[in-house]
Amino acid sequence: MNFVLLFLITIFSLSLFFYGRSKTKSISIEKNIRLNALPKFYGYYLVLWCSIPALVFLLVWSLFEPVIIKSIIIETAANQGAIFSDKNEANLIYEKIKAIHLGTYFGDIDSILRESALAYAKFINLFTNSKVVLIFGIIIASVIYSLKKIKNNNKARDDVEVILKGLLFVSSLIAILTTLGIIFSLLFESIKFFSVINVFDYLFGTNWSPQRAFVRDASSITAAEFEELKDAFGFIPLIAGTSFIAFIAMLVAVPIGLFSGIYMAEYASIKVRRISKPIIEILAGIPTVVYGFFAALTVGPFFRQVGENLGLTVSSESALAAGLIMGIMIIPYVSSLSDDVINSVPQSLRDGSYAVGATKSETIKQVVIPAALPGIIGSVLLAVSRAIGETMIVVMAAGLAANLTINPLESTTTITTQIVMILVGDQEFDSPKTQSAFALGLTLFIATLILNYIAQRAVKKYREKYD
């Protein structure tokens, strides 16, 4: 139904474009007046007026229709004598009614359900019909309004500008609201978590074992259970593991990325650059899950084999394997960002250095790199926040047990891995275990936010220097 409506709105507003354009043209010729805008603007004006109110209405209606129908149906079912004790059971009954209406329900149908299904069908019909009527009403009203405006030779160009500006504003508003929504959902769930677990126990605890939190309902927690839970959510092993793996990754990515960036920017001939730069950037295009199984199935066992030959115990899921592969994944970020930064160092600085007799490597070491340093730091920090937020590789290659260790050959775990572990499968949404995922998400979010902020500041500072 909605698709038919959308199609009709589109067709109708498109034809209005041509109508508006030719109509205003003929009016201006007939009455010999100068139009306030080009005829096509009158066409746009009609299109916008015809489509936007109707589309907005359709969107709002589609958002609220199911909610309203649901509450009405649940109420009718209750009046019919259906018994449900909480929201979940009510939802179940509603789903049953819906299934009966669609003919996909194969259980026993009692009279209550049958009656409710009939009522459901009735309401659906009613809502659909009124939706169609209302939409056409809105279209007709707005078209009449805009046609009248056009006949009065309004300033269509300015009006179109205003409407477009509004549209663009709404788009950016949606982006901002989404961000806020995510932050608040993280925040509220985290607050629930922190109402059970003390913030300091969380931030400074050295033991992470959320599987101990089998408590169902966070609000009805007993003192004994609380004692049990208190030290199950220590954040330290996770941040330690995360930083450790990110550190190993940067150990790989920064030198290789930076050096290849320098090579690309300063030494490579145009031909070499044209071929090798896209190849390096392909690395950035490989899905992280591919890196993940490469780390888990190839590199991890390889390290273990080598370790065995050297007489070392190497876990097959090791921080070293995960960090190494993550580092390789990050190389293109560091390399292409530092390449850009080095390229934007003005040639005049290099000339100045060559002119006093410095060689190429002296110039790079003493003039180009220092000049590009803030930008390079920025690129490294962006890479760090990328490493901290990376999930797939560590899930597959780093292990799940939260060991507090600095031995790169042992398995360790990260924040993102734990979030995945907590939320995989069926979960009770009000247990502290599940809520801890939100707390972890919030902490991770804040950490990467701070890093990104510092990175952007560094990059900005750099930009100011040469503008």
């Binding site: 100045g352 060559y354 002119a355 060689t359």
Partner: protein
């Protein structure tokens, strides 16, 4: 008449397929200022960049012919470019101080060439260079401030000090005043007058007045060819060539 310091014979320069200089024969006298004038793109800058081999930086650039300094072939493939540039300094169109302190801007060159091994020797070099470029009085109390914090004219004098710091024999100046206001320009011109006692100077300029003020010898380039060269006075008063006449009187270019 001073000795000839630099002598170019049938010098040709190509950028890829495009020829930028055609058989340039030009002699530069020692401890004298030679001005090179001509419309944009006529090869003046290309010529002076041959003297310190700055054209090496450009991949597609090819130089043929002969250019000699004190009888040494500059264009020799085996020539040590580093020591050549130690002897031939350069100042660019736009002031290009390094984003380092004033002190480090000057000490950069000497350090590269292993001069000024002790701190006090280095201090002495920095002070002398800044004095020679008439900047010392203005910056002596803030040597650790970034070179980019100076005004445009001061930056250009800093760049001149940087060129002087390695004690070169020749200084090439590529439109050193084109980005400066008249007052800063006057200061630089005064400085050039002073510097020619010690150094051989080649200056590329778009300002006829500047050429007249600072130089003893002037060469006029057009479309990659050296049209006329001679004493500055003669070039500007009664040039032999019609084209030179037209250019200096502003009829083209």
């Amino acid at each position: 008449m001073n000795n000839i310091k630099i002598k170019s014979k049938n010098l040709n320069v190509y950028y890829g397929d495009k020829q930028a200089l055609f058989d340039v024969n030009l002699d530069l006298n020692e401890k004298e200022v030679t001005a090179l004038i001509g419309p944009s793109g006529c090869g003046k800058s290309t010529f002076i960049r041959c003297i310190n081999r700055m054209n090496d930086v450009i991949d597609i650039c090819k130089v043929t012919g002969n250019i000699e300094m004190d009888g040494m072939n500059i264009n020799d493939k085996d020539l040590d470019v580093v020591s050549l540039r130690e002897r031939v300094g350069m100042v660019f169109q736009k002031p290009n101080p390094f984003p380092k302190s004033i002190y480090d801007n000057i000490s950069y060159g000497p350090k590269i060439h292993g001069k000024g091994e002790t701190k006090s020797e280095l201090n002495q070099i920095v002070e002398n260079s800044l004095k020679k470029s008439a900047l010392w009085e203005e910056v002596k109390d803030r040597l650790d401030e970034p070179g980019t914090s100076l005004s445009g004219g001061q930056q250009q004098r800093l760049c001149i000090a940087r060129a002087i710091s390695v004690n070169p024999e020749v200084i090439l100046m590529d439109e050193p005043c084109s980005a400066l206001d008249p007052i800063a320009t006057a200061k630089i011109e005064e400085l050039i007058d002073e510097l020619k006692k010690t150094y051989t100077i080649v200056i590329v300029t778009h300002s006829m007045a500047q050429a007249v003020r600072v130089s003893q010898k002037t060469g006029f380039f057009h479309l990659g060819k050296l049209i006329e060269v001679g004493k500055t006075e003669k070039i500007f008063k009664n040039p032999d060539n019609k084209m030179t006449q037209d250019y200096i009187t502003g009829r083209f270019g």
